[in-house]
Symmetry: C2
Subunit: 96 residues, 2 copies
């Protein structure tokens, strides 16, 4: 087997970046739907119990090269961003 | 069309979380390969030009619900984690 070159490896990373982007966008769209639903139901957008359960489910499946704390940190950033999306929608709703 | 329930939407999020985890792990494995290659070639692991180009390529494809700055922030965290992986490998190599 020939060793992969830096260029080939970087192409792999570039492809994964775009797949990550696509998944983040899909996730953002669903998070917005959840935000709207909670708005209608009058429930709070931030749900620390659900967030902890989600993190636990992710960490239970984690067997990759990163430290568990690193995976947790990245996902917390994603959760925070999704919550901000829902709050943006809420602020816009208040303005109309 | 029936409206999705909170439960259905959350299941969607849970599935995406695990797909994100899988991609992050794949990305981490490739980053480690890159680290080893650079180690052999004696080149620096952190390459700000490459990082900027990667971010630009991601942002050029970005058309989702998140702010561009949010996407950039999340990917910078992923880049940082990957670099740390490479550095961990380097430190271990120095110890043997």
């Amino acid at each position: 087997m020939t060793k992969p070159t830096l260029e080939t490896l970087r192409k792999g990373i570039d492809e994964i970046n775009l797949q990550l982007l696509e998944l983040l966008n899909k996730r953002g769209e669903i998070a917005k739907e959840i935000g709207k639903l909670k708005e209608m139901q009058g429930t709070k957008r931030f749900d620390p119990v659900r967030e902890r359960e989600s993190l636990n489910a992710i960490l239970a499946k984690h067997d990759g090269p990163f430290e568990a704390s690193t995976i947790q940190h990245i996902f917390k950033e994603i959760f925070k961003a999704s919550l901000e999306l829902q709050e943006d929608d809420h602020s816009k709703a208040l303005l109309v």
